[in-house]
């Protein structure tokens, strides 16, 4: 490592405007930058290039079934919680061509997509979302079969992580042991202080992206401020999900009357699965030209709340909302653990915010536990 770059695991202080140089370095290195930006009254994830693309001076208010953006007086860059988008939209796109197929010399020739996917630099990844990416890794790369489309996007990701500066009432990362501070899984991790970013260097690639920036070794004062800020944030997390009786609680209560009660509120709209950073289910559609000599197979995001999801010829395995909500919750919090050795929930709270009727995953578990048939 040249002396003008910090070593891995160092913490450095970076004047805020210098983050632009990091962005420029990433772009020069061939990365496509995606990060938070304001659109349609929400903070979404999209391609960005400049610091002013970030939601400077914006914050959000989130509650069950409610999301609002608000101007703040301070010009903070990352003073908001996770929005409706998650990184899965880049790693596991909701619409993807699996292959094209063509009839040639009487036989079908199947061709996987050739164009390489972008090399993404993710800007502003939160700790819970780092955990969510780790879960997708297990689902799509950890088994006997590995998803090559996910792998090709995943292997080149640069992660610029941001530790949370504030907490929404929907967050419960501390229960799921995923946040609010990222301890691993980043190339660079920022803690935003009033006039500087305190930057933890997580990898050689991360260090390299600090080239030509006026970074300085972090002072004890900066480290102390950042640590206190993080402790404050951690204390703000109020929502809790008790996990010590999972997965049993769900397996033992598959016939619980509470599922009928949830079904009177849940609309089966699938919002929760769309916003969830770990929900990975897909379906496929096939297209062809009129002569039937060429076609494509497209993979689309799907949801266990969709009616067709459990279609079998002659019937539907989960014909009602009761069985679909039960499938979702018991997969997230119970069978996921058996399948992938981890909970399917990272406590990001998105499903709570974006549920149009404000169903709270944490409260549904509590209700089940409170009334559990023991």
């Amino acid at each position: 490592m040249p002396p003008n770059l910090p070593r891995v695991s160092a913490s450095v202080a970076l004047p805020k405007p210098a983050l632009q140089q990091v962005f420029d370095n990433l772009r020069a290195a061939g990365f496509t930058l995606v990060g938070p930006t304001v659109r349609d009254g929400t903070i979404v994830l999209d391609e960005i290039a400049r610091l002013d693309d970030l939601p400077v001076g914006w914050t959000d208010e989130q509650e069950p079934g409610r999301y609002r953006l608000k101007k703040t007086r301070e010009a903070q860059y990352f003073n908001y919680g996770v929005g409706p988008h998650a990184w899965k939209q880049f790693l596991h796109p909701s619409c993807l061509r699996l292959f094209s197929v063509e009839k040639s010399n009487g036989s079908w020739v199947f061709r996987p997509p050739e164009e390489p996917p972008p090399r993404y630099a993710f800007v502003g990844v939160r700790a819970c979302d780092v955990a969510a990416i780790g879960i997708l890794d297990r689902v799509l790369l950890g088994g006997e079969f590995r998803d090559p489309h996910y792998a090709r996007r995943r292997e080149n990701v640069f992660a610029l992580v941001v530790n949370c500066a504030r907490v929404n009432p929907t967050c419960f990362c501390t229960s799921m042991k995923t946040g609010p501070r990222a301890t691993t899984g980043f190339d660079l991790a920022l803690t935003e202080l009033p006039e500087i970013f305190l930057v933890a260097v997580g990898s050689d690639a991360g260090s390299e992206m600090l080239r030509d920036t006026p970074w300085e070794a972090a002072t004890a004062f900066d480290l102390g401020r950042a640590a206190r800020a993080m402790q404050d944030v951690e204390r703000q997390v109020e929502r809790q999900l008790k996990t010590d009786d999972l997965p049993r609680l769900l397996y033992d209560n598959l016939e619980h009357p509470h599922w009928d009660e949830v079904a009177t509120r849940c609309l089966s709209c699938a919002n929760c699965t769309l916003v969830c950073p770990t929900c990975f289910c897909t379906t496929v559609v096939d297209t062809s030209d009129l002569r039937g000599t060429k076609g494509e197979r497209i993979r689309l995001a799907d949801s266990c709340f969709n009616r067709d999801f459990s279609h079998v010829f002659g019937g539907n395995i989960r014909p009602n909302i009761r069985s679909r909500y039960r499938q979702w919750l018991s997969h997230k919090l119970a069978s996921w653990i058996d399948q992938f050795g981890t909970s399917g929930c990272v406590g990001c709270g998105r499903c709570i915010t974006w549920c149009p009727v404000g169903i709270e995953i944490t409260e549904e578990v509590n209700a089940l536990r409170g009334k559990a048939a023991k």
């Binding site: 292959f99 079969f145 792998a151 080149n156 691993t184 190339d187 016939e255 990975f280 079998v312």
Partner: protein, 288 residues
């Protein structure tokens, strides 16, 4: 890459969702709306690399139409040509029904778990099938035929809705000669039918079998399998000696699409063949 801290090899894995072209070598009608397709991969290397075990399935792909899970119904010892007995049900299977000998489709597999033929050596077997549940068990029967002495008594209890719906009837003679006790019933008889009438699990009433050292292998509608399990347990056959083959909507067969989840299991990975003891907590749960 740092976010990839889990120790997983992610560079250029093979694509498990890409079919390989195969040609239809023969089509044998079995019953109204059901036929057996003999498929051979176009590429000899694919043919040589392919081996399957009884109970496993392939994904058959028709470009522009869709893909369906179909069990292998042929002899695992002959894997150059792969038998698939298809019931024309909905969109994709009906399109398969319009194909002719020499037509192509895409094939990938084999997927899933298999019947416990190794564990069955030296034991008695009760094979119970309903309707289109027999094809995934046919490889078991064909494997037994080639090493009949390795097994004890072998009973086949098989039923279909009507006599015209019975599959593989022309093979029953050979199966019987080899010492497989073939018991057939139909739900609804016609004037030509001389055999038993009733649902498949009732065939248990007509057979005597010791409960020790006996395995039950069953495939058919879930409701039928429920009664098969009931009859088997009533005869003191232990839960862990009962194997069932399950079906759920399936889009990828490699554990990515999420459709075939069954509690902690994916039907495409841990199934379709399950030991009953392992899935008892979920089996028969309403709308599960």
């Amino acid at each position: 890459m740092s976010v990839a801290s889990p120790a997983m090899e992610i560079r250029n894995p093979a694509d498990p969702m890409l079919p390989r072209p195969a040609v239809i070598q023969a089509i044998r009608p079995e019953a109204a709306g059901i036929a057996t397709y003999s498929l051979a991969f176009v590429d000899p290397a694919d043919r040589d690399a392919y081996h399957f075990r009884p109970g496993q399935f392939n994904m058959l792909y028709l470009p522009g139409v869709g893909e369906v899970a179909i069990s292998l119904s042929s002899d695992p010892a002959e894997s150059q040509v792969l038998g698939h007995t298809v019931r024309y049900a909905g969109n994709v299977t009906r399109a398969i029904g319009r194909l002719k000998v020499g037509d192509m489709l895409g094939v990938r597999g084999p997927y899933g778990s298999h019947w416990p033929l190794e564990d069955a050596v030296g034991k008695n077997l009760i094979i119970v099938a309903g309707g289109i549940g027999l094809p995934p068990l046919r490889p078991v029967i064909l494997s037994i035929l080639s090493q009949r002495d390795a097994f004890g008594r072998v009973l086949l209890l098989y039923g279909a809705r009507t006599p015209a719906d019975l599959l593989y009837t022309r093979e029953f003679g050979r199966w019987r000669e080899a010492g497989i006790e073939v018991n057939i019933s139909v739900d609804v008889a016609d004037e030509s039918w001389r055999g038993k009438v009733g649902v498949v699990p009732q065939l248990f009433y007509f057979v005597r079998m010791e409960h020790q050292n006996t395995l039950v292998l069953t495939c058919g509608p879930e409701i039928m399998m429920r009664f098969v399990i009931y009859e088997a347990l009533a005869r003191r056959i232990p839960k862990n000696a009962i194997y069932i083959s399950m079906e759920r909507n399936m889009k990828c067969a490699v554990g990515f699409c999420g459709h075939c989840q069954y509690g902690p299991n994916f039907i495409c990975k841990q199934g379709p063949v399950f030991n009953y003891a392992a899935i008892e907590p979920f089996f028969g749960k309403e709308d599960f």
